[in-house]
Assembly symmetry: C2
Homo-oligomer: 315 residues x 2
């Protein structure tokens, strides 16, 4: 009757410092985060990047969990070949999966990945794809806390997220907060959201999970970026009328970007699409000034909570 183990990752990006701080404090004071019926396994995602205060060293760790990259780290020829040294984040991704993945010696069945954003999104959950256990967890947390859920799927440019390598997992995303800044409210929102996830899993473990009749998701459609100059630098800012307006629907013609000469680039697209991650500092290099989503209401069938309950039941 061993309790199911839940991986709690903080600092997957080394310059998002609030969740790692919370984990440090939690390790010193286990009463800080209520947790019953599951065993949390806290781990710092990218300790080397954290030590340097950088998002990553060689490449984004949270884009390094594709099966193809993980296979590279498994290949002894690659590992021994000096000239083709693997990016340190690929090595780290492989290490995390080998050790804490469902088949690993310290295997976990669920992964919660704690992030922060410079975008004014408040607290939200990010789900990758449509696995029923993920949707059950998101739906039950949404019912408890009223959080928006961002469904990320089918973006060929953005692949290889950590939680995809566990049978169930999601990202807790808290903002707005600058990189490298510890802020009490961000820590507290991280703590409350993590606690809600753990409470939902405890319910599921006891086979008492209650999901709401519907899950509201904001489904990822794509991303927008301002024009860029020949050096790849943005040639316009997010328009001040849009800055900080995450989750607020766009209408065709709304001001989107502002150029230095005062000219405005408007949004051109269907009315009612919902922007998220507006001006996230780390996404500049990815050519993403904001992402566009569609709000959808999905009925939650009985198979959804059952998926999470089965996952957390004894073998």
């Amino acid at each position: 009757m061993a309790r199911p183990r839940v991986l709690v990752v903080a600092g997957t990006h080394g310059n998002e410092i609030n969740a790692p701080w919370l984990l440090d404090q939690w390790q010193r004071n286990p009463a800080l985060i209520a947790c019953a019926d599951v065993t949390p396994v806290p781990v710092i995602g990218n300790p080397a990047a954290r030590a340097q205060g950088r998002r990553y060293l060689d490449r984004d760790l949270n884009r390094s969990f594709t099966l193809e990259l993980l296979a590279r780290a498994d290949d002894p020829a690659m590992a021994s070949c000096e000239s083709s040294r693997l990016d340190r984040e690929i090595v780290r991704a492989h290490e995390l999966v080998s050790r804490f993945g469902p088949e690993g010696p310290e295997g976990c069945v669920v992964a919660l990945d704690l992030h922060s954003t410079t975008a004014a999104m408040g607290s939200s959950l990010v789900v990758y794809g449509r696995r029923p256990a993920d949707l059950a967890l998101a739906a039950a947390v949404q019912q408890r806390l009223g959080l928006p859920v961002y469904l990320h799927e089918a973006d060929q440019d953005q692949q290889g997220f950590l939680v995809e390598r566990w049978p169930c997992g999601l990202v807790i995303e808290i903002g707005p907060v600058p990189q490298m800044l510890l802020q009490a409210t961000i820590v507290e929102h991280t703590r409350l959201t993590l606690e809600a996830c753990l409470a939902v899993m405890a319910d599921a473990r006891r086979q008492q999970l209650v999901c709401p009749p519907a899950l509201i998701v904001h489904r990822h459609l794509g991303s927008l970026d301002p024009p860029r100059d020949p050096e790849g630098r943005p040639d316009a800012c997010v328009h001040p009328a849009r800055q900080g307006q995450d989750w607020q629907p766009l209408l065709s013609g709304d001001p989107l970007f502002l150029k230095a000469d005062g000219s405005v680039i408007p949004y051109e697209g269907p009315d009612g699409r919902v922007p998220v991650f507006i001006n996230e500092a780390a996404y500049g290099e990815k050519g993403i000034a904001l992402s566009i989503t569609e709000r959808e209401v999905w009925p939650v069938e009985g198979a959804v909570p059952e998926a999470l309950q089965m996952l957390l039941a004894d073998d």
Copy 2:
């Protein structure tokens, strides 16, 4: 009758990206920033750090302008000795002074250094010491824009600021904005403040400088930091009641820091002291959670505007 040259530095810290963006745009469109009677000389302070999106590579460039460090870069023995390679920022500081310093081939008489902060300080000026020409520039800009002026002096731990190596100079500090984030309002406040400085210098150049009867300064007294754990990490956050409350006077007993267990560390000190740079992301590594100032009203004597007028007059 050559116009006086004014060095306009942006990106002294490579992860403060708004002012460099403004300078890039300005070079493409000279009408973007009004400027008369003086010749602005725009330069990126630390292009190598900017390219990497980091505050600095080896050491803080804006603490590298002490005479002692600059002398090291002058020493041919140092320059040629591989094992004692100079920090790249010391080399860059030396390069900036050699080239644009008052005696340099592209010499400037004034330096304006454009920064941004994660602290909620709005727009402000920072003056280092009490040079009359600096105070004249600050007083006249304060009269135009109503900006607070932070007077930094006599802090043995914080020395070697760029503007100190020019006969006149100050820092324009705009916030709040996360590092690595381009934000239209921050660009615009930078532009307006820079324009006001240039307009004041144009007045002084025409020997028509009018200063207000008094300058309000917030004089630096020292800095505070929360307790730290054995690894040097903060063991408490800035209290949410104090976060974002830059320029708001402290009373003894006010909540200052908040620990993870909910306990509060209060401010202990004289009433009325004014905090600035509350939770500036880059100052964590310097052990500065906030700085403490005293608000003072200084009469502006006639010698003060004269100092700036003389500096900008023809030889």
